[in-house]
Amino acid sequence: MSRKISMKQAINEALDLEMRRDPTVIVMGEDIVGGTGAQGEDDAWGGVLGVTKGLYAKHGNRLMDTPLSESAYIGAAVGAAACGLRPVAELMFLDFMGVCFDQIFNQAAKFRYMFGGKAETPVVIRGMVGAGFRAAAQHSQMLTPLFTHIPGLKVVCPSNAYDAKGLLIQSIRDNDPVIFCEHKNLYGLECEVPAESYAIPFGEANVLRDGDDVTIVSYGLTVHRAMEAATALAKDGTEAEVIDLRTLSPIDWDTIVESVERTGRLVVVDEAHPRCNLATDIAAFVGQNAFGALKAGIQMVTAPHTPVPFAPSLEDLYVPSADSIASAVKRTLSPKGARSIAA
């Protein structure tokens, strides 16, 4: 049975289904119950934006409110994972990674390799990413490149409710630490989602739109901007292929390269800052492995090299827009495309 639900509901459903399936799954985070022990606990918050609402009533103490103490509880989630549980720890805003990154990149990510393959750390750390929420510099970042850089971490960033549910279920079942990035501006976006459980394998990009003129690769919110751009370009006769990466580590190189070999043109869109991000990573990979297929220079569309500004007038300029993506596509199509440098 399928029905239209939001990405927020899809995430809630994935957690509920996995907790039912596997008693070792526990969920912890700041305010994820949002009122343990309070009189209204049955109708408590369920997270600042209500993502985990209602789960406490169903699963009781397997949902654990934590102190505002990210190092301690993220580390506890990692330690519990190494001892046989499958914890899902919510880090509210992934910007808060700054205070507990050691437990993620020096501990969780390294256990398996550092202990000679004798440890598994099936922990999921999920939280909000992305700008456009008027949440300013410390609650709006797209830090996916940082996580992707670390061997041992898997990084997931869904663009819709269907993918969010299937990828979160896969993340919980995966035996490696997974950073699950939820774009806060997509929480309310609805699509058709089956009620039953299903898992989407990692490393399989989703081709949202076929086209032979140019390949646009993106993930998260900017996938939707890319689709808008593609629709607009189609009116002028340009058919863009749009690829939603879904998982950044592992990444589906095959789908990207195969598409570029067909279109000869590549635009990579990343909400992260312009240096050392997914766009530069993909551009470099394609440059190294599919140079002969390229008819024009690769274009990258990213956020600027600035913190996320608060003022709405500035923040609206910050996130890559459909227009900027369409312009990038046009640059790859211009005769000078091969020599031009993105403005």
Partner: protein, 327 residues
């Protein structure tokens, strides 16, 4: 033989002595071999602190978890990690506990409940809260012990973990191994409240200070604290005051020590001497029995070094192995 007045049977006493002697010989041997240039990287020796690891670990089983520190060899041995595998690991061999991928600072054996030495100071405290949480969720009566030095006790992770363990009432014991020096910086200078018991009190759990060079003091206090945690009585802190026979790491000239300090602590605060004299004086164990253990331990360490040196090195294909379970 006289009646045994100790809280452990003779076999257990012999086991404790063997563990402490094994740690001592292991570290003394590393001290020598490191100076010869046989060992890559750097090592931090536990010599002098054996009574603490042993007095605590005598109360634990493989289902109980520990999170160790950079100075972790003693914790590993006392928790039952194979000495040959440890030595091979320190020598960077493929037969090592971590197949040569971890080295001295990352020896782990999860099958023994040893969640790893740790190169990040204070990082073990949150991890052990997770281990204790897992035990609590499963209801298997397991406990988690995290070791932290006097220096790393200032880490936010440690203080946050005290709070988390108290809030969640976790079966965790926080062991502060106070050897007086955070690397080279005096504990008196670096720890503002001066007493770890005060810190524990501030987080709503009991704290106890014992003489960490007295095996029986550690054993007895740890026994009460661990039993309490196992029974659901919640976390506690145990401060063991002890001495470090060597520098922060091998090669440390230790110029920060007082004149004669090392000679004095070796003469008066050697936990192995204190233990052996106590059991011999009580007439429970003969000196010859301890000497037999000494010989067996020497042979064990000698064999571990020989085996480590003869063991194969990891090869190129090992470089990329075990980053992920699956990709």
């Amino acid at each position: 033989m006289a009646q045994n007045p100790f809280p452990l049977g003779k076999d257990e006493l012999l086991k404790a002595y063997r563990t402490m002697r094994t740690i001592r010989e292991f570290e003394e041997r590393l001290h020598v071999d490191f100076a010869k240039g046989d060992i890559p990287g750097f090592v931090h020796l536990y010599a002098g602190e054996e009574a603490c690891a042993t007095g605590i670990m005598m109360h634990l089983n493989d289902n109980d978890r520990i999170a160790s520190t950079h100075r972790g060899h003693g914790h590993c041995i006392a928790k039952g990690v194979d000495v040959h595998a440890m030595m091979a690991e320190i020598y960077g061999r493929s037969t090592g506990a971590c197949r040569g991928k971890g080295g001295s600072m990352h020896i782990a054996d999860l099958s023994k409940g040893m969640m790893g030495a740790n190169g990040i100071l204070g990082a073990g405290a949150p991890l052990i809260c997770g281990a204790a949480l897992a035990a609590k969720v499963r209801g298997d009566r397991g406990v988690g012990i995290t070791f932290v030095g006097d220096g790393a006790s200032n880490q936010g992770t440690f203080l946050e973990s005290l709070n988390l363990a108290a809030v969640w009432n976790l079966p965790v014991v926080f062991v502060v191994e106070n050897n007086g020096y955070a690397e080279s910086t005096a504990m008196e200078w670096a720890v503002s409240c001066d007493s770890y018991v005060d810190r524990a009190t501030g987080f709503g759990m009991p704290g106890v200070t014992v003489d960490g060079t007295d095996f029986f003091a550690v054993y007895e206090a740890a026994g009460e604290i661990i039993r309490r945690a196992r029974d659901g009585g919640g976390p506690a802190l145990l401060e063991c005051n002890m001495v470090r026979f060597y520098g922060h790491f091998e090669g440390d000239a230790q110029t920060y020590r007082a004149k004669g300090e090392l000679e004095a602590i070796r003469a008066t605060r050697d936990c192995l001497t204190i233990l052996s004299e106590r059991v011999i004086e009580a007439g429970v164990i003969g000196r010859d029995e301890l000497q037999t253990i000494d010989r067996e331990v020497n042979a064990l360490i000698e064999d571990a070094v020989r085996a480590a040196k003869a063991a194969p090195l990891p090869v190129a294909e090992d470089l990329l192995r075990d980053v992920y379970v699956s990709y």
